[in-house]
Point group: C2
């Protein structure tokens, strides 16, 4: 068995081939830029008034002087005159006309309504209330690097510089095979020793949160059905996830069926809790990455977050989401398992600041184990107990 | 002018009428349950083996005894026999048969291949490696409360208990009107004093991240166009957002046009930076909430997060997302603005744990102001400077 870090390294050791596509601007949200983006022109593109008021030449200002108002400069309109010892009314976002180099706020002015204005300030600095052309970015300057995740701020910049169809990385096709003769569909009534399939919906939703519409199928515990499903899914997937059937029982057919289908085993067994029986391999000629996850609900959700999600992100050139280190709220003891223990946890904010609080659950088969958790805390293998206030690693869901 | 907290309280003071609808299980992800959910039966529904191995009656165990193996109990199959002084092979997830009350792991067994097995352990405790019927939840027990946000853990529980079409709250219809004669569409080439519309795409994406497909329209700065667009949007929206045109200039027509359309002003002006000119009101007969946000990109994104998002969430009975309190990395000074300063910030993790780092920007008109930020930090109005390590309030994007 290997440690979690070794497992993660093995999962990420072979980078998938990156593919790109152009999408509409809004469809690029939460995706990753495949090109870097430069400014198409200076930003601001002109000397821009940042306040409503009057544009004038700062050097002409003396307290008490009356100014002639030459007209109004509106945002979006070119005003062709040149300012000398007079002034012009100006609106926020408009271009400061030639000759002018400052804006006095409308709040500091008194107009006579007849084309003349007094100012109630004592001095005027050159370029006050003016955003200078190019002060935010120069034309040709790099604004966004390739590999940048597109959030609202990136959408805003792409729109500003006119990138209506950004090039982004293609996301992987992900398929799920749930195994287990005891497992029935959600909308059927279980017999006394049957349970409904909760893992496929949980995984499909976790995939959808990564922007991926996965597909799923359930197969019964026979080598024939399993091998047939694996063969089909290998042809139409970049990542294949199986749940259940990876431990030591006589019906744990998954590892054997995968190797039969030409999937080369990279590891089976990780010194983590939950997740001890995780199986991982690759089908090299089809280029498919394959996970066998344990079948308990908490195990599936935790191992997806800790091992599958980082692989899925790598198809978009994204590194694993960084974990946080936050103080633990309360002590935490455990019966030593000799494995790193990933426990359901939630962010808690109080007078001491923001901390991580471990949550009670009843083991990895507890259908409620993850409920109300915001992520996973990590109890290192070599630590019997953790103390209140100690920094713990936290993986947000 | 009012403080941010007063503004938020005013925005949330009138709760929208909650409406509900039934959706497919996967479509319920990131939505809010409108019904509470109880367990349809006990969980586990039967005494369940948590390991592959052999089920037996613990009281019959003596080290060194040889057991007869009566057969194999597979997950999903009812095994009709009763265990007395013999044992039965059992797979993980299968129901422990009548008479048996413990499972010995397959790793601790030695089979002779002829229907007999020895165990290499020294004792057997009653119910070891068995999840007891009902130990996670009792039939009829409350599992999920109305108002619960549906994440992967909730999807998993809903699936387990057979809720294939949960009832959830309906999200609001949100429309955007961008104003400004200087503003042109993203796919057009701007003239020398024009800029592309970056606010509508940024807001539409922020809405989509809340699960809402908003609509947007741009109008020019004339009272007629503005009033016509407002009248149309009031009829088809639950929340209406205008950007630009809310400060003091002669072309800042938004407040007047809204009041003309029957929108009752609740406040205009908040002691926050950015966001000083925010306008908020309600059209009581149409039941529409209306925001006038300032037109600069950073202002729009920050005020959406701080004021609009909490209102949108309230349509789903959700409270505002809780802010965190994390240590500040480095000192932070500012030219005193007399207003709470919401600055772009990012989460930073180092040996000292997870902290919040303020980011440089060039004012609220800077097209890059939010880039690479993960949220907003808050510099309180009454504090000249903040010190390294001090807890600061942080609002994640």
């Amino acid at each position: 068995m290997i440690e979690y870090e070794e497992a993660l390294e093995a999962v990420l050791s072979k980078s998938p081939a990156l593919q790109t596509e152009a999408v509409e601007l809004l469809a690029a949200g939460n995706r990753v830029l495949a090109n870097s983006i430069v400014a198409d022109r200076d930003y601001p593109p002109f000397e821009r008034a940042t306040m409503d008021g009057f544009a004038l030449r700062a050097e002409t200002f003396r307290p008490g002087i009356e100014y002639r108002v030459r007209g109004t400069v509106l945002a979006g309109r070119v005003w062709k005159g040149k300012i000398d010892s007079d002034c012009v009314e100006i609106t926020t976002g408009a271009a400061v006309p030639e000759g002018a180099n400052a804006v006095i706020r409308v709040e500091d002015s008194r107009s006579d309504g007849n084309g003349r204005v007094h100012f109630e300030c004592h001095d005027v600095k050159a370029w006050q209330n003016v955003a200078r052309r190019g002060e935010d970015a120069r034309g040709g300057e790099l604004l966004l690097e390739k590999g940048q995740l597109v959030d609202h701020a990136v959408i805003s910049v792409l729109a500003s510089v006119g990138v209506a169809q950004p090039e982004v990385y293609v996301r992987p096709r992900v398929s799920i095979i749930s195994t287990g003769d005891e497992v029935i569909p959600v909308d059927e009534t279980p017999g006394p020793v049957e349970i409904r399939n909760s893992n496929a919906p949980a995984l499909l939703y976790m995939l959808s949160a990564l922007g991926i519409q996965g597909s799923s199928v359930h197969v019964r515990d026979t080598p024939e059905q399993l091998e047939a499903a694996i063969a089909t899914m290998l042809r139409t997937s970049d990542v294949l996830i199986l749940t259940g059937g990876v431990s030591k029982g006589s019906r744990d057919l998954v590892g054997a069926a995968l190797e039969q289908a030409g999937v080369r085993k990279v590891f089976h067994g990780v010194r983590m809790k939950p997740g001890k029986p995780v199986w991982f391999g690759r089908h090299d000629s089809e280029g498919v990455f394959v996970f066998g996850l344990p079948g308990n609900p908490y195990s599936v959700q935790a191992t997806f977050r800790l091992l599958v999600e980082p692989l899925v992100r790598s198809f978009e050139s994204l590194k694993p989401r960084p974990s946080l280190f936050l103080p633990l709220r309360g002590d935490r003891n455990r019966s030593s398992s000799g494995r790193a223990d990933f426990f359901p946890a939630r962010v808690w904010t109080g007078p001491e600041g923001t901390m991580i609080e471990g949550m009670q659950h009843n083991g990895s088969g507890d259908i409620r184990a993850c409920l109300a958790s915001t992520g996973l805390g990590r109890h290192p293998a070599n630590r019997e107990s953790l103390s209140d206030g100690e920094l713990v690693e936290y993986f947000a869901w």
